[in-house]
Amino acid sequence: MNRRDWLKMLAAGAPAAVLYPHIAQAAHSDTYLIVTDNPDRVLATIKPKLPQNALIENRRVEPSLQDLTIIRNGAIVDPRLAADVDPGVHDLVAYLRSRSAPGTRLVTIEPHPVPRSREVRFEQAGQVVEYIDLSKSYREIVIRGTQGPTVFSLDEGRLRVVRSSCRHELCKRSGAIGSGRLVCVPNRLVASVDGSSYLYDAITG
């Protein structure tokens, strides 16, 4: 998605938004910051329109006025060029830079990782027991673990646990994933989409 398409999409879905285009150092990177008075509505509006490889992340940033693009009444206004920037915009920048500003939420949308391989790898007790083509759909994939079978389903590139022989089925709570892993500790089972992320090397939490 290039910047022009991005701006058009936002202008249609977020009329109160302020954009912060940041040209990142990497050659193919673009960074945008949207400030809105209704983050839930904006996210709900734009999320379906984002590329499939989009990931939402919260991050603190410190924008400056020269980095902002303003949408006012459906028109894009570049504050670096406009002569009549609303003083409120200056306040907005100061507010964003304030660390103690209540009610501030910074959400980053980043491309979802693209799997390095098109396979799901199933491991039981550290040994690979199965590879499944991620592009195919399966209503049931049964993998035997220490306590019994765990049933997965794979649909449109997303894997989830349907049922498990473990007591609490915590693995089911992870929902459907298109990258990363699903784990059933009692069954010593790990289902991984290999090379899960260009964006992070490990997850905490």
């Binding site: 912060y20 990142a24 990497a26 050659a27 193919h28 990177s29 673009d30 960074t31 945008y32 910051l33 949207i34 400030v35 809105t36 008075d37 209704n38 983050p39 904006v42 990931l55 939402i56 919260n58 991050r59 603190r60 940033v61 924008p63 409120g88 306040d91 907005l92 507010y95 964003l96 304030s98 500003a101 501030t104 939420r105 910074l106 959400v107 980053t108 949308i109 980043e110 491309p111 491991e123 550290g126 609490h168 709570r173 992870s174 929902g175 459907a176 994933i177 990258s179 892993r181 500790v185 790990v190 992320s197 260009y198 964006l199 992070y200 090397d201 490990a202 997850i203 905490t204 939490g205």
Partner: protein
């Protein structure tokens, strides 16, 4: 100051990069201490990586036999059962000394003697319920790190016979630290050891800091924020890690040692620190204390930074956390 309740959405698209020749990244999954352990190793070949992981995981299992409360034969479990004192190995005594110090440092926000209270919630039960006030009061009378003593002659002793330690999470952090040491001894300079979210980043990846994502409290497939980390540990306490719902209220495992009730106001608390053991204890304390008080507490602790996602979705952090956040998403990666 602007009047908006503000939110900002940042979009980052990435380019491809390149890897140093002569080394490759290998990933292994193992299980220990009731969780999955992921080893990410940069090594010259798979055999070396696998051998190093074998050493590291043996070390982790050794620590588990000493300190994991899920193992009824562990030294820690034995201590929890005795009524007065137990002769413990030096390593266990040193561990207990450190968690005693961490409890004191956090003003009791991290307090492993809270185990009798946590036990009341019976998270493993098929039908868990919150304890009543009388049961809580009785259990709270057993809480207090001042009841734990480490005697010079190698005994760990307790003032209250029913005093018991919920040190499993911190022990997991210690196990991560020991596994990392074993990797270093095996000649590995760059690796991540991640035991269920308690992790240590050794060295770097292709000369750049490792990137650690913090899980979204409501969606395990989403990452809320990414840190850049080199030679440091990260741990997160979250209200989604162990919980049950009763009468429309979520009861999670991170109880306030003062009230005996689950700490409220925070969805997750993450700490970057010098060791995984320390990061885990401080993350618990940060969660219990809440954003304002907790972040002040973390900011006063040497070599530690914290980040909180509160119940409204607001993210706040200690000032020094910016060092770990800056440019975390600028990254070249392997081209396919």
């Amino acid at each position: 100051m602007a009047r908006y309740a503000l939110a900002a959405i940042l979009i980052v698209l990435f380019s491809a990069g390149c890897r140093d020749p002569g080394s490759s990244e290998y990933r292994f999954t193992r299980f220990s201490m009731g969780t999955v352990v992921e080893y990410t190793i940069i090594a010259s070949d798979e055999a070396s990586a696998r051998a190093a992981v074998r050493r590291a995981h043996n070390e982790m299992e050794r620590v588990s036999r000493l300190l994991w409360e899920g193992d009824s034969l562990s030294v820690l479990s034995a201590f929890n059962r005795v009524e007065d004192r137990l002769d413990v190995p030096t390593e266990v005594g040193d561990f207990l000394k450190r968690i005693h110090e961490l409890a004191t440092l956090t003003g009791g926000a991290f307090d492993p003697t809270v185990k009798p209270v946590i036990s009341l919630y019976d998270f493993d039960s098929p039908d868990p319920r919150p304890p009543d006030d009388d049961a809580l009061a009785a259990a709270l009378a057993l809480v207090g790190i001042d009841g734990l003593h480490l005697d010079p002659d190698g005994y760990a002793s307790k003032d209250r016979p029913a005093l018991a330690l919920a040190a499993g999470a911190v022990a997991k952090g210690y196990a991560v630290d020991r596994a990392v040491a074993a990797l270093s001894d095996a000649g590995i300079d760059h690796a991540i050891v991640n035991a269920g979210g308690d992790l240590y980043c050794l060295g770097s990846r292709d000369g750049k800091p490792w990137r650690v994502g913090v899980r979204h409290p409501d969606d395990p497939a989403e990452v809320v924020v990414v840190f850049r980390v080199t030679d440091a540990a990260v741990a997160t306490s979250g209200d989604y890690q162990q919980f049950f719902e009763h009468a429309g209220t979520r009861y999670h495992h991170i109880v306030d040692p003062v009230t005996g009730r689950p700490a409220r106001g925070v969805r997750s608390a993450t700490v970057v620190a010098a060791t995984a053991e320390r990061a885990d204890a401080l993350a618990t304390a940060l969660f219990v204390r809440g954003a304002a008080e907790g972040l002040d507490m973390i900011a006063s602790v040497a070599e530690a930074e914290g980040l909180v996602i509160d119940s409204s979705g607001l993210i706040q952090s200690t000032p020094g956390m910016d060092e770990y956040l800056a440019g975390a998403t600028d990254r070249g990666d392997d081209a396919e």
